[in-house]
C-alpha cells in the first residue's frame, strides 16, 4: 500500500513542470536543438499564420506523443518509425481539415507547410526520444512544452518580421501615416526568408547572453 502511494507521482511534480518549462529556454527546439528551422523561416512573415502554425504543431506534438506513449509497448522496434509516421500523418490531416474548415485564409497562406508538419523534426524527435520511453502523462506535457517552445520562437520572429517588414502587428498598421510621409519605408528584406534566419540568430545571441549555461566550453 505504502509503496503504491510512493510510486504515484503528483500530476504537476517538479519533474513534470520541468518537462513543460525546459523546452521554452534551456532545450528550446529551435534555438538550442536547431530543429524545425524550415517552417520557422517559411511561415513567419506575418504574425497570424505563425500563431496558427504554433498552435497546430503544439497540438500535433502533444497528441502524437500521447498516442505513441500508449502504444509504446506494443510497437515492434523495427517498424516504429513507420508507426510514428502513420500517427503523425493522421493527426496532420485532421489539423489540415480543421484549418480549412474554420480559418480558410490562413490555411491558404500556410499552404504546403501544414502538410509538412509531418516532416517537422521536432515531432519525430520527441516521439523517438521521449514518448517511446515514457508514460502518457509526462509525454503529453513534453509534447505541449516542445510545441510551446517552438511556437514562442515562431511568434517572436513573426512579431519583428511583420513589424519591420510590413509595418503592422497581426494585420493592424502600427506605424503612423506621418512616418511614411517623412520618408520611412518598410524593410523589404524582412519579408524574405533569409532575414528570418538572421532574426533566429539574434534570438540565439540574446538567449545565450542571458543563459550562460548554453555557451559551449572550449
Amino acid at each position: 500500500m505504502s509503496a503504491e502511494i510512493r510510486e504515484r507521482e503528483a500530476l504537476f511534480s517538479s519533474k513534470n513542470i520541468k518537462l513543460l518549462k525546459n523546452p521554452l529556454n534551456l532545450s528550446n527546439p529551435i534555438t538550442v536543438q536547431v530543429l524545425g528551422i524550415c517552417s520557422a523561416l517559411a511561415v513567419t512573415a506575418k504574425l497570424e499564420p505563425a500563431i496558427v502554425m504554433a498552435i497546430s504543431v503544439t497540438l500535433v506534438t502533444a497528441v502524437a506523443n500521447v498516442v505513441i506513449s500508449v502504444l509504446r509497448n506494443g510497437i515492434p522496434p523495427r517498424i516504429r518509425i513507420i508507426v510514428q509516421l502513420v500517427v503523425v500523418a493522421t493527426l496532420v490531416i485532421v489539423v489540415d481539415q480543421i484549418l480549412k474548415a474554420f480559418v480558410y485564409d490562413v490555411s491558404k497562406q500556410l499552404s504546403v507547410f501544414v502538410g509538412l508538419i509531418i516532416t517537422n523534426c521536432i515531432i519525430m524527435g520527441r516521439l523517438e526520444a521521449f514518448a517511446m520511453a515514457n508514460k502518457p502523462w509526462p509525454s503529453f506535457l513534453d509534447g505541449i512544452g516542445n510545441g510551446l517552445g517552438y511556437g514562442l520562437i515562431l511568434i517572436v520572429i513573426a512579431f519583428f518580421r511583420e513589424l519591420l517588414g510590413s509595418g503592422s502587428i497581426y494585420g493592424f498598421n502600427l506605424i503612423p501615416e506621418q512616418f511614411y510621409e517623412l520618408g520611412y519605408k518598410n524593410n523589404g528584406l524582412m519579408i524574405l526568408p533569409p532575414m528570418a534566419l538572421i532574426v533566429v540568430g539574434v534570438i540565439i545571441w540574446v538567449q545565450r547572453y542571458y543563459t550562460r549555461d548554453l555557451i559551449e566550453k572550449n
Binding site: 520618408g183 519605408k185 524593410n187 523589404g188 528584406l189 538572421i198 540568430g201 545571441w205
Partner: protein, 382 residues
C-alpha cells in the same frame, strides 16, 4: 610633433587600467595609434614587426580611393546639371556633388565607428581600423540620393552582422561594405534600383537609366559611348562610374603591393571569358554586347579593384586567388545577362565567392598536400 607626443604621454595614464577614464581606453588607443606608429617590439622568439601595420595599410587603400571619390563628387553634380539642360562649371558641379555626398560619408563613419567602439569596449580589445576603408566604400557604392537613415541602418547591419558577430575585423566572412549594399538593395529596392535614383534631383522627363539599366530593358542604342563609360560621364553609384580613376587607384594599390594583382587580373579575365562566350552564343542582343563594354559598365571595375581584393574575405592561396577571381568575373556577367531581377551582378557574385573562399583554399591546400605525399612515396619506392 614632439608637443603632440608629450600631450599624449601626459594623458595616457588616465586611460590605462585603474585610470580615471579607463572606460575610454579603446577610443584613446585608436587615436594614439592613428597619430603615431606603435613602438611595441616583440620580446621573445625571432618575430619581426613590420612598421606597416593595419592602419598604414588602410591609409594606402584610402588614398587609392580618393581619385574615384573626387571624380564621383564631380560626376554627381555634372549629371544633375546635365539633366536640367545646363552645362555646369567644374567647381559648381563638384561642390554640388560634394554637398550631396558629405552627409552620407559622415553618417557612414559616425554609425560604423560608433558601433565598433562600443563592441571594442565591451569585448575589451582595441578599436580596429577595419572600418576606416569600409566607411568610405559604402558611400561610394550607393546612389547619390540614398536617404541618410537607410545608410545608417545598412551600416549598422553590416558592422554588426557582417563583422562583429564573427569576431570583428579580420574575422569576417563577407565584405562589410558589400553587406551594407546588399542590405539596402534587398530592403529598399525602390531607392536602390530603377532609373530614378542615379541622378540627384533630376527632371522627370530626363532619362536617368544607367548603361546596365538600358541594356537590361533592351535599349542598346541608348548605351553611352565606350569613351564616356570609360571616363565615367554616366549616371551610376557615387564612386563607381569612372574606370580611369579606378585604374589610378589600382595602380597605387599595386605599386605599394597592398592590392593583389592575381585577383584583379583573374576577375577581369573571368569577365572577358564569360562575355566572349556570350558573344559567341549570341542568342539575344544582350549577349552580343562587346566584351569590353561589360568591363566598363556598372560596378565591375570598382568591384574587381576594391571589393574582390579585400584580403580578409578573399582566398589566401595563390592558386585559390585565380579560381576565386575568375569565378567572380564570370558569375557577375552571368547574372547581368541572365537574371532580369538584378541588373548588376558584381555585388552578388563577390558576396557569393566570399562565402566560397575558405572552401577553395581548403581544396588548394589539400591538393598540395597530396602532391607532396606522392612525391615522398616516389622517393621511398625508388
Amino acid at each position: 610633433m614632439k608637443a603632440l607626443r608629450k600631450l599624449l604621454d601626459k594623458q595616457k595614464p588616465h586611460f590605462e587600467k585603474g585610470g580615471r577614464f579607463e572606460k575610454f581606453h579603446s577610443a584613446f588607443d585608436s587615436v594614439e595609434t592613428l597619430l603615431f606608429v606603435p613602438d611595441k617590439v616583440t620580446y621573445s622568439g625571432s618575430h619581426i614587426r613590420d612598421a606597416i601595420d593595419m592602419k598604414r595599410t588602410m591609409i594606402v587603400v584610402f588614398i587609392s580611393l580618393v581619385p574615384a571619390l573626387l571624380f564621383g563628387m564631380w560626376n554627381i553634380g555634372n549629371q544633375h546639371f546635365l539633366s536640367l539642360g545646363q552645362v555646369p562649371e567644374l567647381w559648381t558641379a563638384f561642390f554640388y556633388g560634394f554637398l550631396k555626398m558629405l552627409p552620407i560619408i559622415i553618417v557612414s563613419y559616425v554609425v560604423g565607428l560608433g558601433i565598433e567602439i562600443i563592441f571594442a569596449q565591451i569585448k575589451g580589445h582595441e578599436v580596429n581600423e577595419g572600418f576606416f576603408v569600409s566607411g568610405l566604400l559604402i558611400p561610394m557604392i550607393v546612389p547619390p540620393e540614398t536617404p541618410l537613415w537607410q545608410v545608417a541602418i545598412a551600416v549598422a547591419f553590416a558592422v554588426v552582422f557582417g563583422k562583429e558577430v564573427f569576431g570583428g575585423t579580420g574575422m569576417n566572412i563577407v565584405n562589410p561594405a558589400l553587406t551594407a549594399r546588399a542590405f539596402l538593395f534587398f530592403a529598399y529596392p525602390a531607392d536602390m534600383s530603377g532609373d530614378k535614383v542615379w541622378i540627384a534631383d533630376k527632371l522627370d522627363a530626363y532619362s536617368g537609366a544607367t548603361p546596365l539599366g538600358n541594356a537590361l530593358v533592351g535599349n542598346f542604342d541608348q548605351i553611352p559611348s565606350t569613351y564616356d563609360m570609360f571616363m565615367g560621364f554616366i549616371p551610376g553609384s557615387n564612386g563607381e562610374t569612372s574606370v580611369l580613376m579606378i585604374l589610378i587607384g589600382a595602380a597605387i594599390l599595386l605599386a605599394t603591393g597592398i592590392g593583389n594583382w592575381r585577383i584583379m587580373l583573374s576577375v577581369v579575365v573571368g569577365g572577358i571569358v564569360m562575355a566572349l562566350l556570350f558573344n559567341w552564343w549570341g542568342a539575344n542582343k544582350y549577349m552580343e554586347l562587346p566584351f569590353y563594354n561589360h568591363l566598363i559598365m556598372g560596378g565591375f571595375a570598382f568591384g574587381a579593384v576594391f571589393m574582390a581584393t579585400d584580403p580578409v574575405t578573399a582566398t589566401q592561396t595563390k592558386k585559390g586567388m585565380y579560381i576565386y577571381g575568375f569565378l567572380i568575373g564570370a558569375i557577375a556577367i552571368l547574372i547581368r545577362v541572365f537574371n532580369p531581377a538584378y541588373p548588376e551582378g558584381v555585388m552578388l557574385s563577390i558576396l557569393l565567392m566570399n562565402v566560397f573562399a575558405p572552401l577553395i583554399d581548403h581544396y588548394v591546400i589539400e591538393s598540395n598536400i597530396k602532391k607532396r605525399l606522392k612525391r615522398i612515396k616516389v622517393l621511398v619506392s625508388n
